[in-house]
């Protein structure tokens, strides 16, 4: 018998009696202590919804705000055990606005209990919960039809709801559904079968949970271990630490290191106390190798046969978890097992309407929205599809500026195999080309409000550099928008794409050895960061042309401010669209106060 606890999630709304059920299970399994019962009785009188009777829901709603409002805001983890098994329950909120919390609870669960009010049957929210459960890869569902006391413990009601749900589950690909009639409030079928549902004939909920088999199909699958940490206390010892995500390992076993593809053999499987005979899925261990191989955090150790794919483009399910919507083209940090890379969503294939499963076109994803997206990574990573291995197919997206966790994703498949693509190793490189021109390839990036003087400065600088015999080129906002980017408008998503293209063009030009002068408003920090990341350290010079808005508006060379003020021009930076000033530009020019010549001199000085 496994001693691993059964981890499950309970889904249902406030009124379905979810917290009451958990509280009841804790109580019935004798996991509520007397002092906790005493404070529960006290709290029930103060906050309870059972007119002074013991309100088991208060056992699990832990935050003050939750108790005052009688709702569950966040995921709570509860622990209880019976003589046969240990359990960890993730109690999650049922409201639509808490989809992300439900996904969080489901991500580590083996089983889900879906609560349904017997009087109401299968509701929209039941379908939503089932859809999230299925998407998160939970294969076992207990359909708990609660409040049977309020429908007279009627068998027909139970059968009708069960068969309706079985159809829903089949449509979602949930392979196992166990239905049970309950009254959490009265305690019917919570522990032992209830005399009031003689037609049911099954186990009580606790008995059912005790008996659920946990399959470990990955235990005998090919070996996989993400490398979390390189242990190198001294020159003599070097070990790769990680937790086995699939299969088993023994000394002398051959392993391949991905993405490099280098192969070696395991010398020792180390754990506390010394070398071990072997280790298996779920174990945290340290491996040493027979050869001196290059291995680092984020690599995946794998058996050489049936090695997983390595790719840099995926299709994935994505749940958005931030107030600030997903913007296609914007770079985010992506964490997949122990590997962290930069990723952009290249396209949103469709959004999934979480209540019905309907597909709809979408240009972005908002908080709690789910979509199927294509992702592009800045380097290839080894992975398994989520359906094969949750550990090796799940990822989170982190905002590069705020460091919020903004999205959670599940890889479906690779769009192309990066293994098959070999970057042409360029013999004549960037430095060689620039050397021939007698210069250092650089990108000077001017950012600032419209009318701040970016183009004027870039032109003056261009002339000065040209007379000095340097090879230069100017990329100007207006010029590029007439050609390369004429398909783009001024929404946030289009502005992101605008900058991405310009940055890539600037990169190619500087790879050709040129000094590229880019004059773009480029209002968002994250896009300027993306541009900077394309260039080698020191080759990207951010110049903040800091002219006060009033001055820009006074100049209004193109008459755009006037238009924007009249409401004829939407999303105009400084008026109804934000400008995020650079925090650490290489040069900060106060173009309103100092002469243009002195500004140009300052840039030239920085370049030399």
């Amino acid at each position: 018998m496994t001693t691993r606890p059964l981890r499950f999630i309970t889904c249902g709304s406030v009124d379905d009696g979810k917290s009451t059920l958990i509280g009841r299970m804790l109580h019935e399994s004798k996991c509520v202590f007397e002092d906790q019962m005493e404070s529960l009785a006290k709290d029930s009188r103060q906050f309870g919804t059972q007119s002074g009777k013991v309100d088991f829901a208060l056992l699990v709603d832990g935050l003050q705000a939750e108790r005052e409002q009688g709702i569950t805001i966040d995921v709570a983890y509860r622990f209880f055990s019976t003589p046969k098994r240990k359990f960890i329950v993730a109690d999650t909120p049922g409201h639509e606005q808490y989809t992300r919390n439900m996904a969080t609870g489901a991500s580590t669960a083996d089983l889900a209990i879906l609560l349904v009010d017997a009087r109401k049957g299968i509701l929209t929210q039941t379908r939503r919960h089932a859809r999230i459960v299925a998407m998160m890869g939970i294969r076992k569902v207990v359909l708990a039809i609660n409040k049977m006391d309020l429908v007279g413990y009627e068998e027909a009601t139970f059968r009708r709801i069960t068969s309706e749900f079985e159809e829903v589950a089949a449509g979602l690909g949930i392979p196992s559904v166990m239905a049970i009639p309950l009254s959490a409030l009265e305690g019917d079928n919570v522990v032992a079968p209830s005399g009031r549902t003689p037609w049911y004939g099954g186990l009580g909920l606790l008995g059912l949970l005790e008996g659920v088999a946990l399959e470990e199909p990955l235990g005998s699958a090919p070996f996989r271990m993400p490398v979390q940490w390189i242990n190198r206390p001294n020159a003599e010892f070097r070990g790769a630490c990680g937790r086995i995500a699939q299969g088993r390992i023994r000394p002398k076993d051959p392993v391949r290191i991905l993405p490099s593809g280098v192969e070696t053999r395991v010398k020792e499987v180390l754990a506390w106390g010394g070398p071990q005979g072997g280790a298996e899925i779920g174990d945290s261990i340290t491996l040493t190798f027979e050869d001196e191989v290059d291995v680092s955090r984020g690599d995946l150790l794998t058996s050489p046969e049936d090695a997983p794919q390595v790719a840099d483009q995926f299709e994935a399910n994505l749940i958005w978890m931030s107030e600030h919507p997903l913007v296609a083209g914007r770079p985010y940090l992506l964490k997949l097992h122990a590997k962290e890379v930069t990723a952009t969503v290249t396209s949103i294939k469709h959004a999934v309407e979480v209540n019905t499963g309907a597909h709809g076109a979408a240009r972005s994803l908002g908080l709690n929205e789910i979509g199927v997206v294509n992702l592009s990574l800045n380097q290839p990573v080894p992975f398994e599809p989520y359906a094969t291995n949750r550990t090796l197919g799940s990822f989170i997206l982190v905002d590069k500026l705020t460091f919020e966790t903004v999205g959670a994703g599940m890889i479906q498949f690779a769009l192309r195999r990066a293994m098959n693509i070999h970057w042409q190793a360029l013999e004549v490189d960037r430095a060689a080309r620039a050397r021939l021109m007698g210069q250092k390839a650089t990108c000077v990036w001017f950012t600032g409000l419209s009318g701040s003087g970016k183009s004027t400065l870039a032109n003056l600088l261009d002339k000065r550099l040209h007379t000095e015999g340097k090879h230069t080129y100017i990329l100007d906002g207006d010029n590029v928008r007439h050609g390369l980017n004429r398909d783009l408008g001024f929404t946030e998503a289009d502005r992101v794409e605008n900058i991405r293209r310009v940055a890539e063009v600037a990169k190619l030009m500087s790879d050709a050895g040129l000094i590229v002068l880019v004059a773009f408003i480029s209002p968002f920090r994250s896009e300027r960061r993306m541009a900077r990341d394309l260039f080698p350290e020191g080759d990207f010079i951010e110049v903040f042309v800091d002219t006060p808005l009033e001055e820009c508006e006074r100049r209004d060379v193109k008459g755009l401010y006037a238009k924007a003020r009249r409401g004829e021009l939407r999303n105009f930076t400084g008026i109804d669209s934000a400008y995020e000033p650079p925090e650490h530009p290489e040069l900060h020019l106060r173009a309103g106060e100092s002469s243009l010549d002195s500004c140009v001199e300052a840039i030239l000085k920085h370049l030399s």
Binding site: T3, A76, S107
Partner: protein
């Protein structure tokens, strides 16, 4: 039965936290949970010692046997121990008797902890808290984000899915990391027995001098304890389920003087372990409030 999965999960958490940290530290409170956490940290980096120091926030009111145990474990692990006491609090004579447990905890524990973290500039702090201990802890992430000033905002927690932990923070922000989040009190005891982890002898029953305060037995560990006029401690067989500052930690009467009998008692207990901790119940929602202020 012992669950090896818990051990492996905790080791994974510890390694992940260290990999993402600039300057990590492990809070070491000398209690049983700290003992298990320290043991797991040593396992995580074996054969090397853990690449971070231990930090003990010393209120000066711990049991004498705790200080002795601390010295032993530091020697055995080969790790560096940092201790910190809120000197202003000490100079002002803040103590658990005249100032009340709430104010005392705030000054000598919460404030002292924040001082120590700021002083050394630690960005990742391991703590031995478990989710089964208390209701607001049940809601806390394993990697718990703290804004500048070490504040916890329960409504603004980062989503935490699978075993993927977001370790990114801005300068001035910190992470509290709880490797024992998914352990229960029974798990801790079973693991201590299986791994033969040394613990402070106060966890085992013995005849000790105690007085009755607020429904709990308080051990008179030194002459600083204020007795009522004419009062003298009585000797009873007691043990402790948790260890903190001795004047604030209630003992239970027990005959359990071996690990086996302690475990048997724990599994059959009818009261929660934190019942003996007076600071949990000194105000409504008290643990949640203390946590928001920066308490562990």
């Amino acid at each position: 039965m012992l669950d090896r999965g818990l051990e492996s999960e905790s080791i994974e958490i510890i390694r992940e936290a260290v990999a993402g940290a600039a300057k990590p530290v492990m809070l070491y409170s000398i209690g049983k949970d700290s003992s298990v956490m320290l043991h797991l940290a040593r396992k995580a980096f074996y054969p090397a010692p853990p690449p971070f120091p231990l930090l003990h926030v010393d209120t000066t009111w711990k049991f004498k046997e705790m200080y002795a145990h601390r010295a032993r474990m530091v020697a055995e692990s080969g790790m560096t121990l940092l201790t910190h006491t809120n000197q202003e609090g000490l100079a002002a004579g803040v103590n658990p008797f005249t100032h009340g447990s709430s104010y005392y905890t705030d000054v000598m524990k919460t404030e002292a902890l924040k001082q120590a973290l700021d002083l050394h500039g630690f960005d990742v702090v391991f703590g031995g808290a478990r989710r089964d201990e208390e209701k607001s802890r049940a809601k806390e992430r394993i990697f718990s984000f703290r804004s500048k000033g070490h504040r916890w905002d329960p409504k603004k927690q980062r989503p935490e899915l699978w075993n993927l932990y977001n370790t990114h923070i801005q300068p001035g922000e910190t992470l509290r990391v709880f490797p024992l989040s998914n352990w229960t009190e029974a798990d801790i005891w079973e693991y201590i027995r299986a791994e033969e982890i040394p613990i402070v002898p106060l966890y085992l029953a013995k005849a000790r001098p105690v007085v009755r305060r607020g429904g709990a037995w308080i051990m008179v560990d030194d002459e600083r304890y204020p007795l009522e006029p004419g009062e003298s401690p009585e000797v009873r067989r007691v043990r402790f389920r948790t260890l903190g500052c001795y004047p604030l930690t209630g003992a239970v009467e027990s005959g359990a003087d071996t690990l086996d009998s302690v475990i048997a008692e724990t599994l059959g207990a009818r009261n929660s372990e934190r019942q003996g901790r007076l600071i949990d119940s000194d105000q409504p929602g008290s643990m949640e409030k203390k946590k928001q202020e920066g308490y562990f």
